[in-house]
Amino acid sequence: MKLTLKIWRQKSPKDEGKFETYQLDNASQDMTFLEMLDAMNEKLISEDKDPVAFEHDCREGICGSCAMMINGKPHGPGKEITTCQLNMKAFKDGDTIMVEPWRTNSFPIIKDLVVDRSAFEKIMEAGGFIDVDVAAVPDANAYPVEKHKAEEAFDAAECIGCGACVAACKNSSAMLFVAAKVSQYALLPQGKIEGVQRAWNMLMKMDELGFGSCANTGACETECPKGISLAHIARLNREFIKAGFTKLAGEKR
């Protein structure tokens, strides 16, 4: 099929950047979206032009690197899929597709569609780990966990850190990401111990890095490729408010 692609091109973080329009004649509905971009890049290379820079790694929806805004939707059309899982069957012959990078001040553009998401790593460094001594890998049954808690923690742990939640949010808030990371530990025996302090540290880091506040619009939840629920944000709020009052009481936690 024939496609018209409008792609954001930006040489460097400082470059102003602009949309370039490309025609691609040899796309097929059997391709994934990234394969279509690959085909386009091959065409650009054969024309001696600079290929479009975009991030990708696993190409099976687990690494979270293939971040891009397709026709104004993070990861393009379709529910709970990443760009690499997006099939070209979602488009028709003759379509015009607009591809842009995530837009938020906290994710500066490095080149074309590639943005710097190290802000997420800084949030993880602020508390996305378990610090209590849990010794060697314990026997699987040594820590009994209720099934529903295990499932909820597992749901949260599905977050792949892609940043679609931030990209979709009118406030560029990273609450869904932070909530997923806080929830993933808060429900389990080892993680629970530092749960309140972790929520405090990670949220304060999120604020410091320039992400906005949560208005509970739910845009993040609809656009998240892993279907992370707003229920996790409620848990983050709970843990954070608890942390606030613990600190008010002068206790160290």
């Binding site: 604020d207 906005g212 709020n237 709970r238």
Partner: protein, 234 residues
């Protein structure tokens, strides 16, 4: 703790508490207003209004309400302004005029709480000047009119029903009520979510409560104004 109230969740915590507090007040207010409908002689309403005027509890709550509105307004302005600054360049695919409305997947009120709030506060000022100020301070000839039961309570009923015979004044009420309805359509569930009381199950319950509160409050205030207006025509 000091930085709790400057954190993003802390600011929202204040907005949710002040918002819920204002809702409780509005429910009481609507209950008093409904007397206009139950008793067309105005007797019930006048007594209720008088009770609200002289009641000690209400005099204590009044300044707290004022602080609540002001805090809600200040924090709303801070949050909205700060959030506007987080995305300097918007998505081209969304068009020039949708500066920060990234996705239409969320409902319209949730993305426009500040605009709705601005309509509410404009309405509130008009409302306070016309009723609260006159009853409390400046007085009005209509308030002096004899009440149905005689006695020495002010005739708030005359003041209110007189205003509600003016079509554009009723129009302002209807617009204010619609804005309130939409604000609470998102606001109620959002407040419980902010407080961390929501989860997968309660989210639906809070949503239903939110729709009920928004329709009862928004619809109620508009209905009373329209009721008096239509009665004055027949």
């Amino acid at each position: 703790m000091s930085n709790f109230f400057t954190s993003s969740i802390g600011k929202k915590f204040i907005m949710s508490l002040t918002g819920l507090f204002l809702i409780v007040f509005l429910i009481i207010h609507l209950t008093v207003n409904s007397m206009i409908v139950w008793d067309s002689s105005g007797e019930l309403f006048n007594r209720a209004a008088h009770f609200m005027d002289v009641n000690i509890a209400i005099s204590i709550i009044e300044p707290i309400l004022a602080i609540g509105v002001i805090l809600h307004l200040i924090y709303a302005s801070i949050i909205t302004l700060q959030n506007q600054l987080k995305r300097n360049v918007n998505y081209a695919a969304l068009g020039r005029y949708k500066k920060r409305d990234v996705t239409k997947e969320s409902n319209w009120p949730s993305r426009n709480m500040y605009i709705l709030g601005a309509v509410i506060i404009t309405f509130l000022v008009i409302h306070l000047i016309n009723f609260y100020w006159k009853m409390k301070f400046s007085g009005d000839p209509l308030l002096e009119e004899a009440t149905a039961a005689g006695g020495n309570v002010e005739n708030a009923f005359a003041l209110v029903t007189n205003k509600f015979q003016i079509w554009w004044y009723v129009g302002i009420y209807v617009i204010g009520s619609i804005a309130l309805c939409l604000h609470l359509y998102h606001g109620v569930w959002s407040a419980f979510q902010t407080l961390g009381w929501s989860n997968r199950k309660w989210r639906n319950i809070f949503n239903v409560i939110g729709v009920l509160i928004s329709v009862v409050l928004g619809g109620g205030f508009a209905f009373i104004a329209l009721f008096v207006y239509i009665q004055s025509l027949i």
